[in-house]
Amino acid sequence: MTTQAMTAGRAPMPGMKVYNLKLGMWIFLLSEVMFFTGLIGSYVILRFAHPDHFAEPGVVLNVPLTAFNTFLLICSSVTMVKAYAAIEQDDQQGLKNWLLATIVIGAGFVGVQVYEYIALAAEGFVPMADAYHAVGRHMPHDGPVVGGQLYGSTFYTMTGFHGAHVSIGVLCLCFTYWRAAKGAYSADNLGGVEIMGLYWHFVDLVWIILFTIVYLI
């Protein structure tokens, strides 16, 4: 039925057995992959070219906090799956609850990231190359500068772009929730929820890669 809705009762040659929205989302995610590949690739190149600019894990960055944040995001993926499972069963209430949960956790992730930024900036870890003077966590401010000017630039750009994706995702989740509240979705008509899920899982996946590369290595 959905497939038919997508193609307006015509019976074309489906190159793939997925309806347009889903296919479109997959294709769009491909381009997102290239976008993050470009960013992460640049990060890796700069890091190999200037190891001295990058500090040991945990010296500047608050790894435990971010690990917790990563855990949050993974949970939000689980709740997103739950939401989709619910609507597959035509369970409107379940859909709404799980969507709400996803929204809350997603917003929480962004909140923690903002807090992290503020804390880091207070320690002199800033994106402006010329103003960079990170002294490492809980160090006296006149201590020796840790890492180099590229560290702040790359860190905030990498994590910032991911943060932007999450924030946008949260907004869309709110919209999906609003639609769900109006009962727009059903077991036969869950395209909106499904592609929302696809996007959300993608953002989650990217974060796991970023967390590994930026924080742990």
Partner: protein, 603 residues
């Protein structure tokens, strides 16, 4: 997610659009009809084509008459021209802006939207038998993202410090700080504008790919798709994967300027070469984005006007796909002299040599297509043939710079300028002329005036070669590109006459385009009425009225054969539409599919 939901609703309404009349604003301005959006792209990019041409004439004035007052220069602000008693003389920073903006506007705002925006939108749904794009509203958004991008780009001429002046490639660190160029806000607008345009192309690409994969009519198997659609499909994939990389690079450079990050600023440890790698990793697929659709258009017109099946349809498709793949591993050939490891240079040279082959295949197949044909030499055919012959030159001159040692000498000289213009002007632009002329009736229901077109073709092909052929020679004499006053170099001063000759030819060439413009607008209103199928073509778009109604196909077309069955013995005319049910068992490659039951071949 409103748009998505609307898409669903909208799509659900599918068939019964055409019944209710849309209000003017929905029909002509915020239209979701792919044909209208195609026209919108056409008018906007033709406007930018004119702008780009005017920029070129100003540039050529400085090169043809270095340091002499430019006629009418007085009307330009002091930030561009130096007022002197006997007229206004061009400032070097303005010349740099001209170089940059001519390249940027022609590539991103004229050629690319004409090929992808115009022909992608117009042809894909019509040629595969879809009633519209997969996401009509996204399609509209794609256009309405391109417009502000264009406005930003033009506006940058009038901000303090003038428009971007670091070349269309905006190599860092020159582009990273106004201290080096004297351009401050302009460079940031350039970056912002291209980022927005990037999103516009991205939306379009997602739309095209989804449409081609999912919305083909019954019987339209992969290997029954017209080559234009094939080319646009592969182009869309290239856009989809290349643009995001550029967007990333643009944003990083924008951050370097506005936030003070250090990606490309060596003084804080950044890597200037990183910009070049990112830019050309996008930039080389971009080159094929700019030529593949042109190849597709040319194939359509050649086969149709020669009334002969395209020679080696499958290898043509494979060549397009091959280019699509190889296009990703040759970017380094723009960077032989950049300080990149010379060993990498060799590997990039080999891959570059390899990518010459698919283009060679296509060229020979085009020749073989018109061989033993029944060639109707009307204007679309003339433009298409011009495309082939100019593309041959552009392709051959490419081999010189692909060979690393020769590139040492000709890199960054006018030889490169000649090469890119033989491919982008002689190639893409002539194909665009061919395409617009060929599909004009489908867009406006009237034919363009043949005589005026032939006049335009004659003047253009001659002047075009007078402009760009000598640039090879300039390059061989060692004249570097993007140079404000080459007479500063003793050994280049003798090139003055030839430069003046080129400049005069450019002025005439640009003026001559008026013929096409006049013909274009005159024909929209007064042109000879065209029926459904003025060219006796086989492909689906010619089975419906010109212009096609909203929803394109009154009833679902069913496809029985490939697109190029011209002069087939089984039909008494010299063409055999894809939708014509076979009389007896026809000698066509593909089996007749049961409508509805999908048979995805090839892939």
């Amino acid at each position: 997610m409103s748009t998505i939901e609307q898409e669903m609703v909208h799509a659900a309404e599918g068939g019964h659009h055409d019944h209710h009349e849309l209000p003017f604003i929905r029909k002509y301005i915020f239209s979701t009809d792919h044909k209208m959006i195609a026209k919108q792209f056409m008018f906007v990019s033709l406007f930018f084509l004119v702008i780009g041409g005017l920029l070129a004439t100003m540039m050529r004035w400085q090169l043809g008459y270095p340091g002499e007052p430019m006629p009418g220069g007085m009307i330009l602000p002091d930030a561009m021209m130096a007022p002197t008693p006997d007229g206004a003389i061009m400032l070097p920073e303005f010349y740099n802006s001209l170089v940059t903006m001519h390249g940027t506007i022609m590539i991103f705002f004229a050629i690319m939207p004409l090929l992808v925006g115009l022909f992608g939108n117009l042809l894909i749904p019509l040629q595969i038998g879809a009633e519209d794009m997969a996401f009509p509203r996204l399609n509209m958004i794609s256009f309405w993202l391109a417009v502000p991008a264009g406005i930003l780009m033009l506006a940058s001429f009038w901000v303090e410090g003038g428009a971007a002046g670091a070349g269309w490639t905006s190599y860092a660190p020159l582009s990273a700080s106004g201290e080096w160029t004297g351009v401050y806000l302009g460079q940031q607008l350039w970056l912002a504008s291209l980022t927005i345009l990037g999103f516009s192309s991205l939306v379009g690409a997602v739309n095209y790919i989804t449409t081609v994969i999912n919305m083909r009519a019954p019987g339209m198997t992969w290997f029954r798709m017209p080559l234009a659609t094939w080319a646009l499909f592969i182009t869309a994939i290239l856009i989809l994967l290349a643009i995001p990389v550029l967007a990333g690079a643009l944003i990083m450079l924008l951050f370097d300027q506005t936030l003070g990050t250090g990606f490309f600023r060596p003084e804080v440890g950044g890597e200037p070469l990183l910009w070049q790698h990112l830019f050309w990793f996008f930039g080389h697929p971009e080159v094929y984005i700019l030529i593949l659709p042109a190849m597709g258009i040319a194939s359509e017109v050649l086969s149709n006007r020669a009334r002969k099946p395209i020679f080696g349809y499958h290898s043509m498709v494979l060549a397009i796909i091959g280019i699509g793949f190889l296009g990703w591993i040759v970017w380094g050939h723009h960077m032989f002299m950049s300080g990149m490891n010379p060993l990498l240079g060799t590997s990039f040279m080999i891959s570059t040599m390899a990518i010459a082959v698919p283009s060679a295949i296509k060229t020979f197949n085009w020749l073989a297509t018109i061989w033993k044909g029944d060639i109707h030499l009307d204007s679309p055919m003339l433009y298409a043939l011009a495309f082939v012959s100019m593309f041959i030159i552009g392709g051959l001159s490419g081999i010189f710079m692909a060979s690393t040692p020769v590139d040492i000498y000709i890199h960054d000289t006018y030889f490169i300028v000649a090469h890119i213009h033989y491919v982008l002007f002689g190639g893409s632009l002539f194909a665009i002329f061919a395409g617009i002329t060929f599909w004009f009736p489908k867009m406006f229901g009237r034919l363009m005036n043949e005589t005026l077109n032939k006049v335009h073709f004659g003047i253009t092909i001659v002047l075009y070669n007078l402009v760009f052929w000598p640039m090879h020679n300039l390059g061989l004499q060692g004249m570097m590109r993007r140079i404000y006053d080459f007479t500063q170099y003793e050994y280049l001063a003798p090139l003055q006459p030839m430069n003046r000759f080129i400049s005069i030819s450019v002025f005439l060439l640009v003026a001559a385009q008026a013929v096409y413009a006049i013909n274009f607008f005159w024909s929209i209103f007064r042109g000879e009425k065209a029926g459904n199928n003025p060219w006796n073509s086989n492909t689906l778009e010619w089975t419906v009225p010109s212009p096609p109604p909203h929803g394109n196909f009154p009833e679902m077309p069913v496809v029985y054969r490939g697109p190029y069955e011209y002069s087939a013995p089984e039909s008494e005319e010299d063409f055999l539409p894809q939708t014509k049910p076979p009389s007896k068992k026809p000698p066509v490659q593909d089996p007749i599919p049961q409508p509805v039951t999908p048979t995805p071949e090839g892939f």
